[in-house]
Symmetry: C2
Amino acid sequence: VTQGLPRPGAFRLAAGNEDEHLRRALAAFRGVRGPLLGPGHDCAVVDVGGGPVVVTTDVLVDGVHFDLATAGGAAAGGKALLVNLSDLAAAAAVPAAFEVGAVLPRGSAPDLGERIAEGLAAVAARYDCPCAGGDTNVGPGPLVLAVTVLGRPGPGGVVTRAGARPGDLLSVTGPLGGSRAGRHLAPVPRLREAAALASLGVPRAMMDLSDGLSRDLPRLCGASGVGAVIDAAAVPVHGDVYRCRDGRSPLEHALDDGEDFELLLAHAPLGEETRARLAAAGVRLFEIGRVTLPEQGLRLARGEDSVALLPRGYDHFA
Amino acid sequence: VTQGLPRPGAFRLAAGNEDEHLRRALAAFRGVRGPLLGPGHDCAVVDVGGGPVVVTTDVLVDGVHFDLATAGGAAAGGKALLVNLSDLAAAAAVPAAFEVGAVLPRGSAPDLGERIAEGLAAVAARYDCPCAGGDTNVGPGPLVLAVTVLGRPGPGGVVTRAGARPGDLLSVTGPLGGSRAGRHLAPVPRLREAAALASLGVPRAMMDLSDGLSRDLPRLCGASGVGAVIDAAAVPVHGDVYRCRDGRSPLEHALDDGEDFELLLAHAPLGEETRARLAAAGVRLFEIGRVTLPEQGLRLARGEDSVALLPRGYDHFA
């Protein structure tokens, strides 16, 4: 998820969308000293005196990011940490600890807090990312889980969304679409893949796909000041899309569904040795397109033809 | 605010209270690697590779911590950052950057996000604590603001709630009570005072008073494994208590109201030179009691008599 809050509640403006709200709210911080790497990427980087600290926040709300009644507290807690770890993976950073802020709905099950803690603890143990602390309150609204993860730059340094160059290839780490059939609750943060890629110097720009390729690709291209063309035939479609019978094509699902939490990266063509090392590390890359000049915009190619790639992915303010 | 989430939603349990919920939820993390300083203090300390990072989170909810309709978005945003800076002051730490997670209520004013950002930016500039980033969503509930502040240990190191010894004096940095008359919206984080105190090695244990002296003192004493006696006549009463006409005495307001955001600290008796230096730094200390043996519990003394000091301060789960 793009770092950078708080966005105005301008979701009622006709022209408003999530990215525009972000841009407007950030105007309030003009003239205030900024961090080392500020809003607009998957993680920020701040100077806390002893070296750069990578930090990222995601806020999850019952009814938007999970359905508490069917998923349960443990899955909600687990997802709240996993999606933040996915942001850390996008920066090729290494998790160090997390904080959690929670608002429990008044009148919820007496053990909700414990279930959430169990879900958080299981993920914390799996990714060696201890809970530092946090704060819980009770409120009249739905369950809210706000997790902030701190990490350190990986051996290859912090990877951002900026840095893609015309001629680069675009790849993703796994098939896309249909995550709402269930796997969105337990995404696999691509920390291992990111570490392997970054240690080989592969990613020039990288992000995780949370709102769908069609909405997230423009963010990477915007940050890098480039265009892109996606080869429709090359986009790997997840089998889950066939569990979503809503009349949309498999490709539409893969482009627009969101919550894939796969990495999207721009990179130079890979040499034989790099390919071999990635394969040895168990990293799969699906080449889906290439980076173009900015004036070429964002295109979706089908054979010889191409159409504009429109952002139909998830907009939290729509 | 005590670090350590998520607490179970066990607020409906007869015996339940905020601290007990915290203890239960933390059980889920048994066996998971912990941070350098974990839950139970105002801040946690984590190892992010390049040196210790101090971190703290507070979650604020409309209708609990502020009234958005009367206070406005800027005040809400400002308070969300100020109360976290107060937690950093309690640890005598230095702010470095913050993250903010927000859930805006569906249908709120189009400029709510910008107003919140303005409030945050004003406080960020005042305390040189840049915004690193964050995440905003829209939900059906009230406004939620979850702020996490990162900082570095001050020159005197991190001060915790543990370390008070029998015989120590207990002091606060300002008068207490009546904050709900208005000043709770714009607390002054005692960062300057904490830095001066810690650089002179004064605080053996310290915390900020968010839930009221009668509820917070037991937390400091519990963390230190000590008892305490408070001299009722010595507790400085804020003038604001006289604006709260609800039949409770000024002392009750000072003990129980909460959201004072003054520092409570245990310290050895101060020498002349230390007193002079604190005065030169503009730090006022009000001695309100002393630390006793744990078996003496928590007492409120009125002249020769004393009664048990009961925790009547704010319980978010009550």
